[in-house]
Amino acid sequence: METLLEPLSYAFFQKGLLVASLSGAILGLIGVYIVLRGMSYIGHGLAHSIFGGFAAMQLFAAQFYAIGAGLWGILSALAITTVTKRSRVGADAAIGVITIASFALGVALFAKFGTSGPSFENALFGSILGITTGQIVGLVAVTVLTTSFVVLRYRALLFSTFDPDVAAVSGVNVGRIEAALMIVLSLAILATLTVIGVTLVAAMLVIPAVIARMLTDSFGRMLAYSTLIGTLCGLVGMYTSYYADVPSGTMIVLVGAALFVVVLVSTGGRGARRSAGLDRHPAEIVTK
């Protein structure tokens, strides 16, 4: 009990705990769609891309870096979507070029001009130190937005994830749903970046969703489980990070990975079988 209560006497830890559990929850929630649509690499790429915007905006106005990084991320997301749809460049290659170039630019800017915001290392691996009230407000706002989007567009989101072609024929505006999902994903990554870290965000989009998939065959339950698992990873990861004295993002991801192994072993072949086809997303199956 003492172990649980002691860190709570610090204001920074209270803030960290709140931010980590909220981050885990929204990444777990939106991660279900990302994993089922085979977009994990897009999540990974977007996080790196947003880092470029993050660094660039600090040169101009440190207090607006969140807005700049967000815009940069959304523009990258739309650029990836456009390049993959309009040209012969494959999605993987497009993401590789656009987002890693943006990340490289961020690293260069950081190296040349330094930073007035979070340190380079904190931005990469996450930190619970120096979380501002503004960041918490931003995260709460993004949590509300993400939850509203998932609830209000539940059936359209599910349908277009299940089979975009059938959904389009049935009257779902698949393009608009996809664009909205990319924007919500960019904002979720941005809001969770400081605690989880650029390089680790993608893992938290994937791990809770895959664990949830191993536990259930129902979509509704998968959403609920993934959100809960994400929250749990945030909470437990935060405590272990405090005691192990390592960056918060690393421990949150390691807790998730450990949980993944536990669930994989305890569900036996059934869990593995359920998660086997996760990367066989409809976009791959649709042929000309």
Binding site: Y154, R155, F159, F162, D165, F219, G220, G277, V286, T287
Partner: protein, 178 residues
């Protein structure tokens, strides 16, 4: 084609060309489909059957010619079984519910929707399998899951399926490809 062909026109194609990346797949295609008509399209792999359907569904724009659809036409679609991701985490009940428009803010089904989905499942002969995963259905049951519901209202219903394994007795316009 079967049917009288004298009912109102649902779809008309006039001199349509379709291409992918400047490679012409369909050239100068013209035909029309009337209400209560049964149409079958047969052709070898790569002949352009799916391209034709994409034109009809207006998910692909023709490079020449026109595609006309009746304004109040509703389209039902039974996908090829092989093209569905049967490992997707979704129960039979959720799958049928998903395609319904939700007028309420909350995403889950209310009592009347539950009853209505159950009635549809009963009619399809899979009433007791609602909580099962879609993979657990047989091939015929899987295809029936995508069949349009009888309550089409006053709308004209155009319904197409790829490689059907069983038939419906519903009075809808059916278009199928092999």
């Amino acid at each position: 084609m079967t049917g009288t062909g004298v009912g109102p026109e649902l779809i008309r194609l006039n001199g349509v060309n379709a291409s992918y990346d400047h490679h012409l797949v369909l050239e100068d295609v013209s035909f029309h489909v009337h209400e209560d008509q049964f149409t079958g399209i047969v052709g070898p792999s790569g002949a352009g059957k799916t391209t034709l359907l994409k034109l009809l569904l207006q998910t692909l724009d023709p490079v020449a010619g026109t595609v006309w659809r009746a304004p109040d036409l509703r389209v039902g679609y039974v996908p090829q079984l092989e093209s569905v991701n049967w490992n997707f985490p979704i129960t039979v009940f959720e799958c049928v519910l998903m395609s319904r428009k939700s007028s309420r803010i909350r995403p889950w089904a209310n009592a009347s929707e539950k009853a209505s989905v159950s009635a549809v499942l009963d009619r399809l002969g899979i009433g007791d399998l609602g909580e099962r995963h879609i993979r657990e259905l047989s091939g015929g049951q899987q295809q029936r899951m995508f069949w349009p519901e009888r309550s089409c209202g006053n709308h004209k219903y155009f319904f197409w399926m790829s490689q059907p394994v069983a038939w419906t007795s519903q009075r809808v316009t059916i278009f199928c490809i092999y």
